[in-house]
Subunit: 398 residues, 3 copies
Amino acid sequence: MSKIRTEELIKELSLLNTEGMYLNDFLHTWDKTDHEIDAVFTVAEILKDMRKDNISTKVFDSGLGISIFRDNSTRTRFSFSSACNMLGLNVQDLDEGKSQIAHGETVRETANMVSFMADIIGIRDDMYIGKGHEYMKEVAQSVEVGHQEGVLEQRPTLVNLQCDVDHPTQSMADAMHIIEQLGGIQNLAGKKLAMTWAYSPSYGKPLSVPQGIIGLLTRFGMDVTLAHPEGYEVMPDIEKIASVNAENSGGSFTKTNNMAEAFADAYIVYPKSWAPFAAMEKRTDLYGKNDFEGIDKLEKELLAQNAKHKDWECTEELMASTREGKALYMHCLPADITGVSCKEGEVAASVFDRYRVPLYKEASFKPYIIAAMIFMSKFKNPADTLQGLLNRADKRIF
Amino acid sequence: MSKIRTEELIKELSLLNTEGMYLNDFLHTWDKTDHEIDAVFTVAEILKDMRKDNISTKVFDSGLGISIFRDNSTRTRFSFSSACNMLGLNVQDLDEGKSQIAHGETVRETANMVSFMADIIGIRDDMYIGKGHEYMKEVAQSVEVGHQEGVLEQRPTLVNLQCDVDHPTQSMADAMHIIEQLGGIQNLAGKKLAMTWAYSPSYGKPLSVPQGIIGLLTRFGMDVTLAHPEGYEVMPDIEKIASVNAENSGGSFTKTNNMAEAFADAYIVYPKSWAPFAAMEKRTDLYGKNDFEGIDKLEKELLAQNAKHKDWECTEELMASTREGKALYMHCLPADITGVSCKEGEVAASVFDRYRVPLYKEASFKPYIIAAMIFMSKFKNPADTLQGLLNRADKRIF
Amino acid sequence: MSKIRTEELIKELSLLNTEGMYLNDFLHTWDKTDHEIDAVFTVAEILKDMRKDNISTKVFDSGLGISIFRDNSTRTRFSFSSACNMLGLNVQDLDEGKSQIAHGETVRETANMVSFMADIIGIRDDMYIGKGHEYMKEVAQSVEVGHQEGVLEQRPTLVNLQCDVDHPTQSMADAMHIIEQLGGIQNLAGKKLAMTWAYSPSYGKPLSVPQGIIGLLTRFGMDVTLAHPEGYEVMPDIEKIASVNAENSGGSFTKTNNMAEAFADAYIVYPKSWAPFAAMEKRTDLYGKNDFEGIDKLEKELLAQNAKHKDWECTEELMASTREGKALYMHCLPADITGVSCKEGEVAASVFDRYRVPLYKEASFKPYIIAAMIFMSKFKNPADTLQGLLNRADKRIF
């Protein structure tokens, strides 16, 4: 990278209207303006370039990044850690097992108690439909009020590390990968992207990935097709957002129950398992009632339902039907690979293998996307701050 | 804040005799002189002001803060993390589950093994009467000897994050809150503080909070009343300390078995559940003998005993009887709130709600108190060091 | 320490050929040249001196050190943490319980996913013969390829924190201790070191310590004797390495089944329990087959076998037979101490007590050894970098 390119990116950033991001949370991509989305990509790229050029991006001398993971996580945990670390924040995990939350504390109280020196809070809560996003809003509201009341000296901002509705750090990292692969954001318009369901022997995978993808990629003029077997609908609200986005951007948003139709002539394919929305709602209810017998029964039904759609696999045949037979295969990882991680899965081993390097690169954008989201929420004049870092020119490695 | 105010505080600090704190532990407030207690408040305030003014308080370029939590903890864990972070130390948790302590290692060996690069050790061990403080003394002694023998290049100092006897980071944070609410430490004299027992449906809460409060607040000329039902006595040694303190400071220390009497005309009320000292001693013995049947029986007895005192609740009626009906309500949190976190608890929901903001502020002092305790134990000339930081004027956020 | 001494050490370092260490892993000591081994000792000493002189050794402004502990650990965890911290890296633990590795992810994928901002990876995997080292090689290979393919911007290097074959951070720390005790590396030649088995009531202790010791200490011209009861053989490959080393260095490598013979006239004794190699191979197989009945049976056999050798204890009588009756007693800790941590163990309490301080000092070298290994793998011209740090002269404590 060259300093010149970095300075050009900073100049581009300075032209965007991003006021609304300052001291604000990043919960859903569709809450953000096009300028704001663009700013996140741009800052991510700047931070990436600076790191490559061995220039320190440490904007915090001290400060905490709080992580709350209500589900297991490797990738997201490390991405959040990496993002905090490159900005100078230290991660302190709120492990609900270890903490007193389990003993009935209110969200409001805990949110304030852990935030006295918190600059950022990252939350992953994707398990129960209708819960994750609500929880994040509650935390955000709590620290906002805490700040207004003088309890918190600073307003910690939130980054959604995956909720029941959206997975913005994933969809934005995915988008950044597509932008790089297609040679610029302007090249997305008119290209077909197939977000399709795929068979997996497990069940209950969150809907936030397909929803995040159709909610974001429709903004760039792409022809986005959502494909799944009947019964695997995503949230109607998000389909609506996708439709409106497509209309505004001059792209399209189409639905189909035919995988082959989705793959035909696609530039990008994203085949991935998820659970039916209605079933997930039912599961949340059953959990609420501690009806474990009901949950067991539901799981069995869902696995039986899944098993009817084993033909929804990303095979070489399907890949051959894509644009020039060489669509970009995408996945949020880990994938269920036929004959490797399971008997029958989302993708044929040969397809997965061919795309391993791009898949890993796709994942590599996430730490920078998270860092950019943090950055935009904490600095009023992000372009000036980045230029300041460039001028300071501290080395990351001595 | 202004730099002028900060410099005035530094000047005040420089007049205090705090030699005894250097390379020393903070285990009980009553081990410390008035100057030393005053110094902790002053440094806490200076660090708070500097952080508000975006001035870095990082005095350690690297170094570890070891945390040992022998009980669950959210608040204290985050407070310790925050304190270490703002001074530049990285927390490394000694999780006894993960470590080989469980396999019979001696305290002495482990204390040395984890301390090669430790500047500070924070310990919470409040569960068993007669154990927590002893454990801390053993660790302190081990690293002191380790340092003298040349095993440890530096002497890590200890901060008591709650033992079976005292909870100095809580009582000092509470005191700082009172000082701020009453407009200065000189305004505490002659004011009545009621430290009273309150009913909770749980049992076995540590005595270190009431003991910490009566052991510290009696030093400032306050009229401290300790109230509890018969059978809920605290340790006689600590009552003695409170009496001596009161005599020396020109205040008073009174005991009563009548909650209303304690509340009458009080400026400050601190109603909180704790376990009877004698019962906790018995429980410690039973644990020592692995007599789980005995423990079960004791728990049942204690809950039955508690249940006789459900009228020990901080109600609106009681609050109305305090000084002008507006005493400051305090609690270390989380509180058992009637109708909110339990059916019948320590405090009426309307009282708790009215004091939510001050309660949260009360908690907000703890990270600064801990940081000040660390600071005083690691710098020979704390005033000079703080003035140095002020002159250096590094920004916390770029 | 004086700056002059430090500069002399830096000069010595500059004369060593250490090119091969740059961007390379540290898996086994016998993979490294004499110059490289010497460089680690020298850098460890320089870092130690700089820390004593309050000079910052922070070479990373940000960056992650990944730790993977597939076995419980206190010492090694804290040593790795300390080493990372003193260089400026933040440790992020890959806890396989919390992560998705448990769900069948491949090593290759996970290694890349956690390494986007990793500068170093420390792994401890010592439980199963034939597994630990293989796992480390797989991780190393994965990130090497990841870096080549452009997935990882930097090549994280690996430090073996104990595998099934070698324990280089232990043996190097042990060697540094011996060098200091004997007054210089040149004084090791011709001195007898007894690495002997000792009885412990537990079973299945790893072979990596004795193997590490005979694989390393034979390089310095010492007369190394390996003693154990029949049936407690270590890996033949490592014995071979020890023999070749001894031949090259002008020392000797001898085996005996007689503890007294090993102790006779020794300058250094290292009595420690370990499991028979063949039995550990068998156990690994049984685990592979989930044959828990077989494992139980094997454990019982091994404990019975152990019990036949309770006379393999480091007693005062044996110590009296060493060189002038005052050989240096060594142990990697924790030791099984007769009458203290167990009824009958590896060492008599009076022997252990007399050597407590040197034993603790022995352990104190490990953080510096790890830091030196990291340092050598990340800086092309380590002497220049260290001189740069010395000139920068940032203080560790303000």
